[in-house]
């Protein structure tokens, strides 16, 4: 019975109902969309790292510490047999790391020089661009951020200076052969990429490498010697820690969005219910008990939330789908404002089941509460006052 009356009231109220439903639907949309953007940003950062840098994991030279450039000098050796076998099978790619200095346009810039096989397909980098016919200079690939910092473009030449395995400084001319677009600033900023064989030759480290990144489907093997196996969880731990540290911020943002939504819904519902004081008085005069009046208006609030969820799907579903498919262009240049996190140039929101269900549940509860409170207040009035249309404030 209550359900029938509530449905009749909702559908019969026409524009008033649809305005309330629209406000609630916008709240659903905004909370889901903004939270999904936030989740998308974090997931994207993780995905880009794995795609361009981590792949399935790595074997590190025991001296190698990527956070300490001073270790690079000693972090190199011939690959252990098992690891070498992976490289030979093209299931892994070797990288030789060393410190270097470049002198673009008469300035000195300390850089990390990494030698990588130009034929590799393990990580998503355009290393094939390092293959050139002219062997008179060192072919160098850099990222767009580095190019901007160093004011370099394709074809520019500059001096590279490095310390080789014999502790001797050497220098030669490098030429930019490609500027790569990458969302992973860790491959870009202060990095120069050269062909692995060239790097081994320059550093007098024939057949040596600092670390080996292997493909996603490769299982850890025996015979790694002293090289250390680093699985994917180890390699993303920094990012996971960063995301975990960011959880309170995400929660605060979610709460702020909910509070904004709650205020909008509260205004719409309270205004709607207080305007119906006379109707509530009439229902009481016709013999509806106070508790049932409160129940009726709370139920109407609940149905409002259900309609809002449906409206969100119909009205905003295509928008959510569009952004989920094509992403949103962010226009952020990380090379100018280092944010400590990989920021996608085109961000894809992630609508997790948890996010959608939690938002639907929480917004529905808010709607129920803001429907219950004012109707309870009006139902507590004397029926004669309610009949006269007095408000319960």
């Amino acid at each position: 019975m209550m359900f029938k009356i509530a449905i009749k009231n909702l559908l019969g109220a026409g524009l008033r109902t649809w305005l309330n439903v629209f406000v609630t639907a916008i709240s659903f949309f905004m909370i889901i969309f903004i939270s999904a953007m936030y989740d998308g940003m974090r997931e994207h950062a993780m995905q880009v790292s794995i795609d361009t840098e981590i792949a399935g994991g790595a074997y590190w030279h025991p001296e190698y510490d990527p956070m300490d450039p001073m270790t690079f000098e000693d972090a190199h050796s011939v690959l252990p047999d098992a690891v070498m076998a992976l490289v030979d099978q093209k299931k892994a790619v070797s990288v030789l790391v060393s410190q270097a200095s470049i002198y673009p346009n008469g300035r000195i810039m300390p850089v990390i020089m990494k030698g990588i096989s130009s034929e590799q397909t393990i990580v998503n980098m355009p290393t094939q661009m390092l293959v050139v016919d002219d062997e008179t200079t060192i072919p160098v690939m850099i990222g767009t951020g580095m190019a901007k910092d160093a004011k370099l473009k394709v074809g520019d030449s500059f001096t590279i200076r490095w310390l080789d395995a014999d502790r001797t400084y050497d220098a030669d001319e490098g030429t930019i052969v490609h500027i790569m677009e990458t969302e992973n600033f860790k491959l870009d900023l202060n990095h120069i990429w050269v062909p692995l064989a060239k790097a081994q030759s320059m550093l007098a480290m024939e057949n040596e490498a600092t670390y080996v990144t292997f493909a996603k489907d490769v299982l850890p093997s025996e015979g790694n010697g002293t090289w250390i196996h680093r699985d994917i969880h180890y390699l993303v731990r920094d990012m996971e820690a960063m995301i975990e540290a960011d959880e309170p911020n995400a929660a605060i943002m979610y709460i702020i969005l909910l509070a904004l939504a709650a205020m909008g819904i509260f205004n719409a519902q309270v205004l709607s219910i207080f305007r119906r004081g006379k109707e509530i008085g009439t229902l009481m005069a016709l013999g509806m008990a106070r508790s049932r009046v409160v129940g009726l208006f709370t139920l109407e609030g609940g149905l409002n939330a259900v309609l809002a969820a449906i409206m969100t799907v119909i009205l905003f579903g295509p928008i959510l789908w569009y952004f989920n498919t094509y992403g949103i262009y962010m226009g952020i240049d990380y090379s100018e404002g280092q944010m400590g996190l990989i920021i996608a140039k085109r961000l894809i929101p992630v609508y997790s089941v948890g996010l959608v269900l939690t938002t639907t549940f929480v917004v529905s509860i808010i709607v129920l509460i803001v429907s219950y409170m004012p109707s309870r207040r009006i139902a507590k009035m004397r029926p004669t006052d309610a009949l006269r249309g007095k408000t319960a404030v």
Partner: protein, 239 residues
């Protein structure tokens, strides 16, 4: 309470708080209304007629005295019990109709039956009967905004009688109507009073409808000034 009385009131007092003091709206009212009476509570504005009607209807509670309506002592009943009494045994007609604007005539009239949990087919039959008895079958699907004042009040009457209550309370039912509609409304209510054996109590100061009443209780300054039975109402048996 005697079976012939639908309302018995003894020493009723009603006070309203005004600022730090009280305003006494009803002073020692004693009144008995018989079964199937067609009674008017008459008096100027502020005389207490609407307050008395609201107390009889259980919409307001007395400050003192006893009020017994249809066998229930309103002084000792809860909100829920008074709501049930109104739902099952009373009908209300208001000056401004109080129709629910989003409902059609059918749905407005159906509402008391829904509240009384009457089965769907029976509801339809009773609604059509009630709407037919006030001559509005051709407007049964209209909304209040599409009706004239007289049609709205006829809808309100149909809503008040649809569940065949023992007592119908009407607060200034003709105050918003022109003369012709007022007479029509009173004729309809008079006819229903005869046909349904239902008691009607009006609170009014509308001179036009006095001639239909068979009992007039004059109120003045919260007290009963005169209680008169009309042997031959001016408009006969409201036919």
């Amino acid at each position: 309470m005697s079976d012939s009385f639908v309302v018995q009131i003894h020493n009723l007092v009603k006070k309203f708080p005004v600022g730090g003091d009280f305003f006494t709206a009803l002073k020692n009212i004693n009144l008995e209304l018989n079964h199937a009476e067609f009674t008017g509570l008459i008096g100027p504005s502020g005389s207490g007629k609407t307050t008395l009607l609201n107390i009889i209807g259980g919409l307001d509670s007395p400050s003192g005295g006893n009020v017994n309506v249809l066998g229930s002592d309103l002084g000792s009943t809860s909100h829920a019990e008074r709501a049930e009494l109104r739902r099952t045994k009373m009908g209300f007609i208001f000056q401004s109709y109080n129709l629910l604007p989003v409902y059609s005539v059918f749905e407005n009239v159906e509402l008391p039956l829904i509240l009384n949990k009457i089965e769907t087919n029976e509801r339809k039959r009773l609604v059509e009967q009630a709407v037919g008895s006030v001559g509005l079958l051709d407007k049964i699907d209209s909304r209040p905004a599409q009706l004239s004042g007289g049609e709205c009040q006829r809808t309100a009457i149909a809503r008040a009688i649809v569940h065949k209550p023992a007592l119908i309370l009407a607060d200034e039912p003709t105050a918003n109507l022109d003369s012709e509609n007022s007479h029509q409304i009173m004729k309809i209510m008079g006819r229903l009073n005869n046909e349904m054996d239902t008691s009607f109590v009006f609170a009014t100061h509308d001179e036009k409808i006095m001639g239909y009443l068979r009992r007039i209780v004059h109120l003045d300054d919260g007290q009963i000034a005169k209680d008169e039975l009309i042997e031959n109402p001016q408009f006969g048996e409201q036919s």
